[in-house]
Symmetry: D2
């Protein structure tokens, strides 16, 4: 049995981790903590857990966490994880960090997009980007996982096979038009995410300046082995859970011999993946195909030089806590779907 | 033309007042103010008003408001109106107060339910409860209107004819099970009214202790000419606008001669009302019949000793700003539907 | 392992059964059928099941079902189950029927409320009402379970302890004001359950004439050992899953010694129940406490002679398919929470 | 006063027309008709109109309509309008057709995308495409208006200034990623637009094959004076009203002198338009800015060679019935905003 702790247990990702791990046959939740004014039973914070878990959620204390846990999930806001990682690593704990703090290789980009100094350059270099479909082997023995962002998960999985294996595309033409539900905005109350504001509304935000864009660029560049710079426009849609990313990319004009079907390329690329499902040509997944699951479903349409790819994930599962548990399963040599299906 | 000011222009009731008054042929909006950190164009606060109104919204200044306006709408949170009413009345202005500050005759009840000292007992006695269907004559010449709460409007209109004119009912048996959309909770951000919390959820709150209950009791008691004490359970429903109140009341056991139909009683009672519509027996209105309008629609079913009455209103219109404009129309001898239909 | 069949696999209850049973460690789904124009992979009907189950869904054929299954779930519309029960029972199969066909003891009431002749009076008398909290012992060895309706489950669990054990209440005063999400209306397309109709709307329907009312009356009467007749007003609320029932009941006037707390009575009554949770006095559950689970959560407030009880369930789980699986677990001596937590 | 008739009064566009025209000071609704099994008061079909309009809605009868109306709105499904236009024109009536029947110049394209033979080629050539911002002068004296589709209105207004006046763009690079609420799907019940299906879901549909695509292509081609072929991906979003179109277009590589700001170009182009509002650079409208109004709001961001344009409309107003009334106002030399603001 793995003894785990969750720091940041009161956010949406933390709540979702509790929910998953309560059903995971190889896990015991030993510690729950969060920025909280006073200690409180987690079942009084989330009444849905009444009768299922009675742990006290308290302010995080690295020593206590280290004493009780083998693995720590950091479900913290961006910039808060750096305060915990160094001590936990020193104590020999394995960490899955759901924040953005250890995702970007280039500190200057991190500091620009998150508007804060990075405080832990030392450990940054040990962090493994926790996207199993790309980094499974490195994840196995990682001490520190930088669990991918929700938008990057949807975007990278939609593009990885094409970007790494098909040279007929103009990688400067990538457009990612993403639509996300409101849990993606977190639980901190602000006016624009009030029900009466977001309901019956629709809006784009951080158009081409969203902090997940450099994360997408970094990973696609690695896969393509050249610099890739996408256009990325996220939208807020009035629903609770899920991301649908509509991706547009063009073939290089003049190239004629692209007769391999992308669908078959994608099917091969993801052949052994437990959580990626590829649809037949011109069939597209709907969000509900994946909400409540750890799946990423992908549909593709080729229209001559224009290609449209749609990927869907549950932002709290494959886009956050589900993927974190998938990473844990890999790290502990458990069946990858354990607790997730 | 009536020169009006709105204090509290940035809340839902204030926004709705602007929206109505922009189309009202006899009104000029002269002043917009609110608790705000710095002056700002109202069309920058509510971008929907771009190109339609360019007034600056600033902190409220009683002198300026008095200098420019004949009538002032106070669309403030409960307990804030008392700070403005005395000076505005002294300056000879007419006031329509959408808060609860001048609704309850009994100060001790006000102080108990709103948990604050009342600061303006002097003017309380001049306030007229702004429910036109009951107090139209007094509204005409009032200086200070206490505009009714949203739940009380729905509840009182559902019960007024019966309570005042039919003695066959057990007035101790009244149950009001009310369902409200989220604009009723206001615009101040708190966790429980976030989209991702309220969406796909349903909850009762302040069960039998809601601050609108004494307002309902006060008015029904007046109409019945005896003490009436209702059971009142409000619920939050995931939609933006509207209240549906399901009212249960019983006939006194033993009484046999109740053969007058309530539907005809209600139709007579509301015969000349421009904003009340009564349905045939056992036909009930849906919320959408009134959303976006100032109507209150009512359906009734008599089952022997049990009677069920359902009333629906738009909480921001008949339940707040629409009713306020209806009151203004009455005060200024304008056609009562002007600007409202 | 239990070999099960689902007849009516394409409705919401059928889909939910598949979803639960796919994760149930002691079940193999052997047969899926429905009123369908031609055979189709279930994963083509519900694309969310792609890669998880590949069974063909075909028109139901009693012989094939009998040959392959030990237990059959009938997730059919009311009045359709009667066509399958006799043959399946004859073939020695155990049946859990989610329709209303075998719930009402009094055929004349069934025929009145469902407006059809009952075709299988013979087997009606063997049917056990599948509410484990009341009939667990009989369920164990039943051949035919009449799985309770969603509203009745919420209503009966909210009232059972009080009605059976506390004689200080006026059982003629019961009012059940219930609010349900749209999956309760089924998947057959009609105008009033279209998104653009039901969204931002709220309505009562079948006020005091809903077909679930006699089911509630029947079971409460049994528990009270006298005739109980409730007032029952169901409402449609714009959300997908869940029922919240607000129940009002009065103490008999004059009775003084009701100092036993209902909360403690309820806690005792449901002490060993795996799926009922009682809140402290005047604390009420929200719908989200139970959505996605098989729990029924109950909150109680006593106000002198007036008592308010609120119960919440997921209509597709404790209100249908979850309860059906709970019944199956009981019938097969499995842990009652297996596959449900 | 203009005497108008509405054919197709029971759909969303028809209902919206009634709602607008009831408040229009220069219009009398004389005739309401629809495909309906038997005559029925419109206020019994749409109970929200009770006490406001009592006309009978019957099957359409061209003779009666002609006898009573000057102007006829055809709010019919595509392919149904052709049955009414010839006779109504012959009778000298002016027609605003909200269907697609007279929008496409090229009959072969119409027949391909709508999968039906066109039955009225004669009148097709007299039809004016009713987009006032482009065709105002022709609309003035038109006998037959082909009122634009909802997606085309949003898309064309987002691109018109750029496509007609700025030659630095690659017109082969246009991508239109559109998001629409559910009223866009009409009122005919099908499973996929049921509340419980569409709520909490998100899906693309008719990817690059939607019937509004040729309409967009036709109009942009005219404006550009060359063939334009867009990529068009519509999505269904769980809300009632509104379209948000995110448009992507690229500058031609190598062109350097594009220093005129698009925002100022757009402001000039739409300077005198009563219903188009342009936002400052990189500021984007939200859907709620226009829901319930006839406005089209547009925001623009220039990122070097990449340009992102977002337009929002209410699909039932500027995207259908509001635009139809705007066209009527133009035809009758009324102030263009009359009845619409």
């Amino acid at each position: 049995m793995i003894n785990v702790g969750i720091v940041g247990a009161t956010g949406y990702a933390g709540e979702e981790l509790i929910s998953i791990l309560l059903k995971h046959p190889q896990v015991i939740i030993k510690s729950l903590s969060a920025k909280i004014s006073q200690p409180k039973k987690i079942s009084d914070i989330f009444t849905r857990f009444k009768g299922r878990i009675d742990l006290i959620c308290d302010k995080p204390n690295t020593k206590n966490i280290s004493a009780n846990c083998d693995l720590v999930f950091l479900a913290l806001p961006h910039t808060a994880s750096m305060d915990f990682v160094p001590d936990l690593l020193k104590a020999g704990k394995r960490i899955i960090d759901l924040s953005a703090d250890y995702r970007l290789r280039d500190i200057s980009i991190y500091e620009k997009f998150y508007n804060i100094k990075h405080k832990d350059k030392t450990n940054l270099k040990y962090a493994i980007y926790g996207l199993p479909e790309i980094y499974r082997n490195k994840i196995r023995d990682a001490r520190l996982i930088a669990n991918p962002g929700c938008y990057p998960t949807a975007a990278i999985l939609a593009l990885a096979p094409l970007v790494s294996l098909d040279s007929s595309f103009d990688l400067d033409s990538i457009i990612i038009d993403a639509k996300s539900g409101l849990t993606g905005a977190g639980r901190k109350p602000t006016e624009e995410i009030l029900f009466a504001e977001a309901n019956e509304d629709l809006r784009a935000y951080k158009v081409n300046v969203h902090q997940h864009m450099p994360e997408i660029n970094q990973e696609l560049s690695k896969l393509a082995d050249r610099k890739v710079q996408v256009n990325f426009v996220p939208h807020i849609v009035p629903l609770n859970r899920g991301i649908l990313a509509t991706v547009y990319i063009k073939r290089i004009k003049g190239i004629k011999d692209f007769k391999q079907s992308l669908v078959s390329l994608y099917k091969r690329f993801y052949k052994n993946e437990p959580f990626v499902r590829i649809r037949p040509e011109s069939e597209f997944p709907r969000l509900k195909d994946v909400v409540g699951t750890n799946f990423c479903d992908i549909g593709i349409r080729e229209d001559g030089y224009n290609v449209i790819i749609i990927s869907v994930i549950d932002n709290l599962l494959k886009g956050a806590s589900g993927q974190a548990v998938q990473n844990m399963n890999i790290m502990y040599r458990l069946p990858e779907r354990m607790g997730l299906l």
